[in-house]
């Protein structure tokens, strides 16, 4: 399997170890964003995507997740 973001080999799952860690951080941090701003998942992803403090790999994963969700939505509609 290759990483959905950078094409590197993955040990397991969709992401390489670098992007997998970024993905974990994204999932973990959502709790704090939700608590603080009552923000839905999609808006959260957009917020971190445009935030200049977000790390490069986390931004790439956020972008992938946004695109992926859009694709999923297109399919269902």
């Amino acid at each position: 399997m290759n990483c959905k973001v950078c094409g590197r080999e993955t040990n397991e799952g969709d992401f390489c170890p670098f992007h997998a860690r970024a993905n974990e951080n994204i999932l973990q941090s959502y709790g704090l964003w939700k608590k603080g701003l009552k923000i839905p998942w999609k808006d959260y992803l957009r917020e971190i995507q445009k935030n200049c403090l977000t790390g490069e790999w986390a931004r790439e994963v956020a972008e992938y997740l946004i695109k992926n969700e859009e694709k999923e939505n297109d399919k269902t509609s």
Binding site: F18, R21, I26, Q28, S29, L53, T54, G55, W57, A58
Partner: protein, 692 residues
């Protein structure tokens, strides 16, 4: 010439100083043998002072070639092991020739592990086994008085325990370095067919790991929001921004609630707490703290500071800089140094002020170095014009030396709490009441004074505004040369003399880039390979264990041979595993090497077709280089720019301010690097220059 004492020094400048200090008339004869300088001096007997050029011997493999694993080694002249060290051959021949007529020998190399090894190897190998008979000069400055004193009271022999532990360190480091570096380099070469030097080692590996771990944290960082609430209050005629006692409010609702409750209400000073405390001077400089301070003040890299300090030491302006001591023993003569400094226009007033004190007692730090005291000025004033970096470092050493004799500064902090409708806001002020040593260290101190206006408990204050601000958590900062050096010191990685060089090697190998260190993909991949196949080599505990063993050798509870054999036994399974996985490792490393090469060639997006990239291309026909679009090969875009044919060209990653075309930096020998806009018709070039 009759029989003489041969004095061996570490560097030519030191030989000149020592010869001048020891000659009765201060005028030794400078002679040359095949371009190698040496000095004849007369004192109680004839003396010949001959310099080395740093290390003249090194550890090398018994066999030729670059195969690994290699566990057999010997000490050989440097010119046999390193291509760039040819001139050390005549150096050794000259020393050997001078040794023949000598009837006594003195090792006068720097008094530390490296200096001792340099002297030991020369006396053993070049002078024909004179190491056991040689005396040892011990000095921390190159002033005339100290050199004469160290000659008159030379130690009867060299410190062989120290030398044994130093030799063991060199041998172990060589075993790790050569085997692991060859494993990486050959794996990549076998896959790509091209040679790229990849290196790692006992110190380099763990250091790179620190950087990679930090970089991973930064790149996968997700900021989270929090809120701060501040009240703008009037106290007398002063308007102050006072933060809420909770520095980070977790939810917007809570922050809004505080703002709502406090808006339009009056405040009251509820409690004032005043605290006076003494701030003692910072301890005198060891090499690490000098490097850190020079980075903070002048942005000099540790390597650069080390070089400048070494130059000042050779000029007898400061004491030996490669020390880890923060102690200044009275034997260095505080008063005499200050009396000499009192003659200097810049430092005279402060020196005289200190001389007026009834007692001179320095504030000292904890670290101790048995070989040398902390870095201090000798009191000698510059005999030549110092360049700006030398002047900066000398002034810094002088000021720090004077500051340690200063009285503690007296500072006062005031903490006041302002209550607004049941919510607490906290005010903090700080003021220096007595400057003490701070003025001796000016201009290198930065004032943190922020005094508060007068107020009393129970006083009512007007609240002009209460507002909340959304903030975000921040990733940890990237290491810079100074903070990385501190981390290496804390982890006991490398020695004071080698740390700066290790950092430089990481840059040279392109494992890291930029001053705020960014780990490159190649750096990540090297760490990944080592982590996967030999994780123990990345752990700093291994280094700590080795340090313990070095200490044990010095105390004679361990032997050099044992320590080296243990290192070989640790390395054997590692090199076997690396060999076994060579193809996979080669593939892994080659991928990033090729990507790095590609990135180095890529200038930026093509301004004409917008879909291709501009890259540096070498024409097979003419052999010349130019910049062309990647779409050229499909015939879709013919954009091309000329490039200078000499020097190294690096993409700058920014576009020209004048015309928006990509820019590069050109590095040519003996010239300052210059920026070049690729567009030959750039309007900024019309003045005749080459601005980007």
């Amino acid at each position: 010439m009759a029989k003489y004492t041969l004095i061996v020094t570490e560097k030519p400048d030191v030989a000149a100083r020592i010869a001048a200090a020891l000659d009765m008339e201060g005028k030794p004869s400078r002679l040359l043998e095949h371009g190698v300088p040496y000095y004849e001096a007369t004192r109680d007997k004839n003396l010949v002072v001959v310099p080395a050029l740093g290390h003249l011997y090194t550890v090398a493999s018994d066999k030729k070639g670059s195969e690994y694993p290699v566990f057999e080694f010997k000490w050989v002249p440097l010119y046999l092991a390193e291509r760039g060290a040819k001139r050390t051959r005549v150096w050794l021949q000259t020393i050997a020739k001078l040794a023949k007529n000598a009837d006594a020998f003195i090792d006068a190399c720097d008094y530390d592990v490296e200096g001792s090894i340099i002297g030991y190897c020369i006396l053993k190998y070049a002078c024909g086994g004179k190491e056991a008979d040689a005396k040892r000069m011990k000095y921390s400055t190159l002033t005339k008085e100290e050199v004469q004193e160290s000659y008159a009271n030379a130690l009867p022999s060299m410190d062989f325990n120290l030398i044994e532990s130093g030799l063991a360190r060199h041998e172990v480091d060589w075993l790790y370095g050569v085997n692991l570096s060859r494993a990486l380099t050959q794996a990549a070469k076998k896959h790509t067919g091209r040679y790229t030097t990849l290196s790692t080692g006992r110190v380099q590996g763990p250091t790179l790991k620190f950087l990679a771990v930090r970089e991973k944290t930064i790149r996968s960082f997700v900021p989270t929001p929090y809120w701060t609430v501040t009240a703008t209050v009037h106290i007398g005629n002063t308007i102050l921004e006072v933060p809420h006692e909770k520095k980070a409010v977790e939810t917007k609702n809570e922050a809004d609630a505080i703002v709502k409750a406090c808006k339009g209400k009056k405040g009251k000073i509820e409690r004032i707490e005043t605290k006076k405390f003494l701030v003692p001077p910072s301890p005198p400089f060891d090499l690490g703290s000098l490097q850190n301070e020079a980075y903070r003040l002048f942005k000099y890299t540790p390597m650069f500071t080390s070089k400048v300090a070494q130059r000042l030491y050779l000029d007898a302006l400061i004491s030996y800089p490669r020390t880890s001591s923060q102690k200044l023993p009275p034997t260095i003569g505080y008063k005499a140094i200050l009396q000499k400094l009192a003659k200097n226009r810049e430092h005279g007033n402060r020196a005289r002020e200190l001389l007026g004190k009834p007692e001179l007692k320095p504030t000292e730090g904890r670290s101790l170095d048995p070989a040398h005291p902390a870095i201090y000025p000798t009191g000698n004033l510059p005999e030549r014009l110092l360049d700006s970096a030398q002047k900066n470092i000398w002034n810094l050493v002088v000021r720090r030396f004077m500051a340690v004799f200063g009285d503690p500064a007296v500072e006062e902090t005031v903490k006041a709490s302002v209550g607004i409708n049941g919510y607490k806001f906290l005010l903090e002020g700080r003021e220096t009441l007595e400057e003490g040593w701070l003025h001796l260290y000016t201009p290198y101190t930065h004032s943190t004074d922020a005094p508060l206006p007068r107020m009393v408990e129970g006083q009512e204050v007007n609240v002009e505004k209460v507002a909340s601000h959304r903030e975000f958590t921040r990733p940890p900062p990237r290491y810079n040369p100074s903070s990385l050096l501190k981390r290496m010191q804390r982890q006991n990685l490398g020695t004071k003399a080698t740390r700066a060089g290790t950092i430089q090697t990481l840059y040279d190998r392109k494992y890291i880039t930029e001053q705020r260190m960014v780990t490159s993909n190649l750096g990540f991949e090297v760490v990944n390979v080592l982590q996967k196949h030999c994780p123990t080599l990345l752990s700093s505990t291994m280094t700590a264990e080795l340090e313990e063993k070095m200490g044990a050798i010095q105390e004679k509870t361990e032997t050099r041979a044992n320590v080296v054999n243990q290192a070989i036994e640790t390395l054997k399974p590692v090199t076997d595993r690396l060999k076994e996985k060579e193809t996979a490792i080669g593939e892994q490393l080659s991928r990033v090497l090729m990507k790095a090469e590609q990135d180095e060639r890529t200038i930026g997006a093509c301004p004409s077709c917008k879909t291709g990239n501009l890259i540096i291309i070498h024409s097979r026909k003419s052999g010349k280089r130019f910049v062309g679009c990647t779409n050229y090969f499909t015939g879709a875009c013919k954009t091309a720019f000329p490039l200078p044919q000499r020097g190294v060209v690096k993409p700058l990653g920014v576009n020209c301010k004048g015309c928006g075309s990509p820019t590069v930096q050109v590095w040519t020998k003996r010239k300052r690097p210059w920026k070049l806009c690729l567009n030959p018709d750039c309007p900024l070039k019309k003045g005749g220059g080459k601005p980007a």
